[in-house]
Amino acid sequence: MSVAASSCLLRARRLDVGVAQVRAVSGLDLDLKAGDRLAILGRNGVGKSTLLAALAGLHPSQGQLECGGAPLARWSARALARLRGWLPQHPDDPFASSVEEAVLVGRHPWLERFEWEGDDDLRIAADALAAMGLAGFAQRNVQTLSGGERQRVSIAALLAQTPQLYLLDEPLTHLDLAGQISVLDHFRAVADQGAAVLMVLHDINLALRWASHLLILFGDGAWLAGPVEDVASAEVFGRALGHPVRALDDAGRPYFVPA
């Protein structure tokens, strides 16, 4: 299956997602097209990661979920892996591995069973590392990296997968300010080149700086989604994040701080 340029990369209708006693969303309607950048905000334990995994087809959900114009269940695992990529939240490495090998796992869905990574795959992996500021790290052991470096290796692996729909679970974890901005800028460029990007974020202002759309989870399945300018308000953020928030004026743009 291939994806027509005009179709929705991700489409959810009346989608229910939950885990154990937590109801992440009830009746979620969502459309993501090429170029869309969606930030998901909400309190700890509200079900953001569960929702993201469900949207990736890695967690059960009820309702209608389509990826690239076809129901998720119709995709083969491999074809789906070429279309949508998912960034896990806590990478851990029980075994040593080089950074390059860790990034090359992203090429798996593009390789035949007995095929080895070719020069193209190595070039894609090197480009992904360079994009994350990790050129020269290829032969380092992932177990010796700092938290932020390890996070950027995970993101590079996702980039090497070259999907059209990116689902990132807290991609800015452990990153310093420069790292956060460069990752956000990179995924803005990725979206501009025709991908759709979803990420779970915690910082309101970074989310506003980056996103074109917001999805706010309030808990108990309640949600609010829409273009940034329709959704962003001190009242909404305060209600969703569990602490009152007020807006400051930052050269004409709102800047939100805890009240």
Binding site: A96, E100, E101, A102, V105, P109, R113, W116, N141
Partner: protein
């Protein structure tokens, strides 16, 4: 989780390098194989070995080689390969560097079966049969219980296996306590592992070949599984199928090995680590290399076990540890973090 692995082989792995490494390992194994055929109380020269391999032994030395040393060497190689391959698979399946072929209770079940048969004074084919039955029973018990609710996680599988294994350990102690003195020596040798008892080397080698042939097509998927179940699933791996196949296969390999030579320790835990230190953790190389390396180590250990204090025979499990531990520590210290 801390890990023993510290050094990275130059990545990425290319097919030519894999072939080169495997050929080098095979050469070492071949040398160990001929040494095993030559060494012993009756020294056998190249001529006698050649005659024995052709199947036409016409003097004493050649007969000893053909009837005693050849089957024993083949069985030792096969079982070492089985254990190391199984250990490498278990470490990936459980994502735990401390996993070994015995961690899920396979050898415990086999030991309970074998010791029961020994206690009853049964003949050796029955002991083998009882060991195999015990191994398969504990395998299905662990598989059934760990899967109970439909989902299985690495932690649940590991916990179930560890509990079943310690239950088997208690039964083994009970059997040892109940046994008359004359049966104890045989039981202890079974527990420590004894390649001299293996009488069907081709069966062992066949299972080893099967294991390698089944795992190689899945090797890249196993690389992903080692990085996390959900991550692997996101990259298109059918982790449920892969994990089930790996669990059943690793259990069968272990069952075949312990049935043939008893619960030889150390090979299954440390050979994969040893090779990981030198070769990296790409399963496409590590799995076949483990089969060769484990086989080679047990072959060398068994040759030493029956020659260093001849005519006494040492338990081969002791020798694998005595050879492997210094080798491993040396490799570890050569590559500071």
């Amino acid at each position: 989780m801390s890990t023993l692995s510290i050094v990275i082989a130059r990545s990425p792995m290319r097919p030519r390098r894999v072939l080169l490494v495997l050929c080098a390992l095979a050469a070492v194994v071949l040398a160990a194989f001929f040494a095993a055929l030559a060494a012993g109380e009756v020294a056998a020269g190249p001529r006698a070995i050649f005659d024995a391999l052709r199947g036409q032994p016409d003097d004493m030395a050649a007969t000893v080689v053909a009837q005693l040393r050849l089957p024993r060497a083949l069985a030792a190689f096969g079982c070492g390969g089985l254990l190391a391959l199984s250990g490498a698979l278990m470490q990936v399946l459980l994502r735990n560097p401390l996993a070994d072929p015995y961690v899920l209770g396979i050898s415990g079940g086999a030991a309970v079966g074998a010791l029961s048969a020994l206690l009853l004074g049964l003949a050796s084919p029955w002991v083998d049969g009882a060991a195999l039955t015990g191994a398969l029973l504990s395998m299905f018990a662990v598989f059934g219980i760990a899967r109970g609710s439909g989902s299985w996680t690495q932690t649940r599988l590991l916990l179930t296996g560890v509990v079943v294994a310690s239950g088997c350990g208690a039964l083994v102690s009970l059997l040892l306590a109940l046994s008359p003195d004359r049966a104890l020596r045989g039981m202890l040798f079974w527990l420590m592992g004894d390649a001299g008892a293996a009488d069907r080397p081709w069966l062992v080698l066949g299972v080893l070949l099967l294991g390698v042939l089944v795992t190689l097509p899945m090797a890249r998927e196993l690389n992903l599984l080692a990085r996390g179940e959900r991550h692997a699933r996101a990259l298109g791996v059918d982790t449920r199928r892969v994990a089930t196949v790996v669990f059943l296969l690793a259990s069968l390999l272990t069952a075949a090995a312990v049935t043939a030579v008893g619960a030889v320790g150390f090979v299954g835990l440390v050979v994969p680590h040893l090779l990981r230190l030198v070769l990296g953790n790409d399963q496409r190389l590590l799995l076949p290399a483990s089969a060769l390396g484990g086989g080679g180590l047990l072959l060398i250990a068994d040759t030493a076990a029956r020659t260093v204090v001849a005519p006494l025979q040492l338990p081969v499990g002791v020798l694998t540890a005595l050879i492997g531990v210094p080798l491993f520590l040396w490799l570890l210290s050569r590559h500071p973090r």
